[in-house]
Symmetry: C2
Subunit: 415 residues, 2 copies
């Protein structure tokens, strides 16, 4: 068996700035992450060998950060200076560990959870998902003949050539690799990123969210932040403050820690209209922009532009990072649609790193609960696409009531 | 540097039955093999690093046969029994070595020669040619971008799929892999053979000339004999007998050693008309058929059919092995042309194993001289295609006079 994750840096960059924030403010929060396979039709536990999965997960638990790896993290700077402070880096080097996991099979699916200090357990998401994906495709490959295996590789190369060609025709479009979690395999992830890094100018392929690849290929690391921050912090404060207060608390922590350079806000945890309704003016004014991760991207952009205009802020100086289920056609279409109205860039995930002729899985691993004074509190996310809403149904109902849930958008997740 | 030849069995099968015949009858013949790059426009020594070439050649000199490998050779049987006798196998296991080589650079080309006992030095041909080819393509690959490298692989896979598809539409056509010498790389050679072995029935893909791959993939070994036998034996007897006498001497040795199962004769050393004119009736009657390795394949087949008919032998019970510069279109065309008139099969070389979008080299390594009682005698080959004629010009002239050289066919070698 070949080890899939061989470096702890084979991780999404945003886990580190998020981790530092968590480590600073919520060091004692004990959080549970849990795997969900939204592609119910694929009974993963009947395809992937459980022992192989355990082996791969155990391999990651045995990894440690090397001094060089910590130095690479230390070298990441914003205009405020070093992004990750020496104390946090010392913690990562000396104390970080992945909490034990619990793996069961329920109804043909893997029930994979892990509970531990939030700043640690959070990293399981980015190690577990590519492991499961790669084991899944290895199994499918084993059923193929040699020519089928080669042909699917050749197909993927043709797709990549075509993406590269289209990007070449649209130099105004900029993209980055957000494809670690859903990649076909580590090897092909590297191949895709290497090709875009070689073929596209840095102004167009602006970098990768994968820290290991950024270090190996000399690329900028790219990333924003994830739902786990508002989800867990919202849960921790649910009994004492309104959801929007917790949400703005997250933005405040983030701004204080990282300032302007990393100021991209994720809007859809409790739905974008609720988020914007309660957003402090200073955030709208000072932050670079927003990340769109669910719902209709055009409607989202229009809403954001109208929002800025209502506050007499010029949207042309603001940025939307689109990151939801993109393919090259959507990227070009969205970029052209908003051209000269608001700046856009694209965090390209599944379709970039997992386009080899196989169906893709919509796998997620999310923070589902947090323990506070011995009491378990469930997290929840509404999302701008109902199909992506997660959390205890009661909590979802509660949030819906609090946050308003008028028109509903629901669309099957492609990835 | 990755070692290209890692097994002495990574060799063409026919070197072993030829080697046994040589070992039995010409054990003391000291022969020189010499490399020729017919693709003069490619100045190989300016492309391939000489030290890398020496390293690869030295690697082969350090290899020895394992007991398993000798057992695999021993397992090859014809209806006469074990093809290679235990004494010869013991020789190969215990005494075989590759003679030292001499490598110089002359006018941008490698002047590679080796002199030693014929049954040993002969094997250099099959080790040196794939080494030079693979080093050549490695150099070309280094100049490519990642996407170019992947795209040429994808191109080759598409070619292979197409070949496989066409073979599927022509189940009457049978082919074998003769592509060791001119392959793009060892890895891709194995890939191509593996694909044909998986996709085509054994009646259509009848085997490979590569002993290592046959052993690894459980395929029949395929092979006839090469020009070196009539060339060297012709040189050794030149002063005492006419060329056709030596030529028939070779056939006699071969028949006595291997009988019917391996009875495919190579006709073009001194041109096919001369060969047929002097061929004993028993050979025409008893041997399975002939191998076509130069000239026009259709004209050759017509000549062979007319020859059999003139002797009242039914050509439909005879076989032609075509092996000269084949591609899938030529294979299908030739097979259909001769359908129901004479049996055909195809030894598919360069175009099978070196079809990845790069130009191919026409590299050969031939027996150029033999020492007899201290005197150096040059070999010569006329071939049915003047562009393939090799040997000392004086000898060629002499042979031409002796053997008749009426209509001349000359065509640039594609491979």
């Amino acid at each position: 068996m070949e080890q899939i994750i061989t470096s702890l840096l084979d991780n999404d960059w945003y886990k580190y700035p998020m981790g530092q924030l968590i480590w600073r403010h919520f060091r004692d929060a004990e959080v549970t992450f849990s795997l969900t396979n939204r592609t119910k039709s694929v009974r993963l536990a009947e395809i992937i060998n459980e022992e192989e999965l355990r082996y791969e997960l155990d391999c990651v638990r045995n990894l440690r950060y090397s001094g060089d790896q910590i130095d690479f993290l230390r070298s990441q700077r914003s205009s405020k200076g070093q992004i990750l402070c020496d104390e946090y880096l010392r913690y990562m080097h000396r104390e970080f560990y992945l909490p034990p996991y619990d793996l069961k099979i329920v109804d043909g699916q893997f029930d994979l959870t892990s509970t531990g200090p939030w700043q640690n357990v959070s990293h399981w998401e980015i190690y577990a998902l590519p492991i499961i994906n790669e084991l899944y495709y290895r199994t499918l490959e084993r059923k193929q003949s040699t020519i089928e295996r080669c042909a699917s590789y050749a197909f993927g190369i043709e797709q990549l050539k075509e993406k590269n060609r289209i990007l070449g025709e649209h130099p105004e479009v900029s993209v980055s690799d957000f494809g670690t979690r859903r990649r076909y395999s580590r090897e092909r992830h590297e191949l895709v990123v290497r090709v875009l890094a070689e073929e596209r100018p840095r102004s167009q392929f602006i970098g990768t969210s994968n820290v290991e690849l950024a270090m190996k290929l000399g690329l900028p690391v790219i990333g924003t932040s994830a739902h786990e921050l508002p989800m867990v912090i919202g849960a921790l404060y649910r009994s004492t403050e309104a959801p929007f207060v917790s949400q703005n608390r997250v933005l405040k922590y983030w701004w204080n820690e990282y300032g302007h350079d990393l100021s991209i806000a994720l809007t859809d945890t409790l739905r974008t209209p609720y988020f914007l309704k309660h957003l402090p003016y200073e955030v709208a004014r000072d932050w670079k922009g927003f990340r769109q991760d669910s719902g209709d991207p055009i409607a989202f952009g229009e809403m954001i532009i109208a929002f800025y205009e209502s506050l007499r802020i010029d949207p042309r100086e603001k940025l939307i990072v689109f990151s939801d289920g993109l393919d090259i056609d959507a990227i070009v279409r969205i970029a052209n649609y908003f051209r000269r109205r608001i700046r856009t860039t694209f965090g390209w995930g599944t379709n970039l790193t997992n386009d080899w002729g196989f169906p893709t899985l919509s796998l997620v691993m999310k923070a589902v609960s947090v323990r506070k004074k011995g009491k378990l509190i469930w997290t929840a996310k509404l999302s701008d696409n109902l199909a992506k809403a997660i959390g205890d149904p009661e909590i979802i109902t509660l949030y819906k009531k609090d946050c308003g849930y008028g028109e509903t958008f629901s669309q099957e997740c492609r990835y």
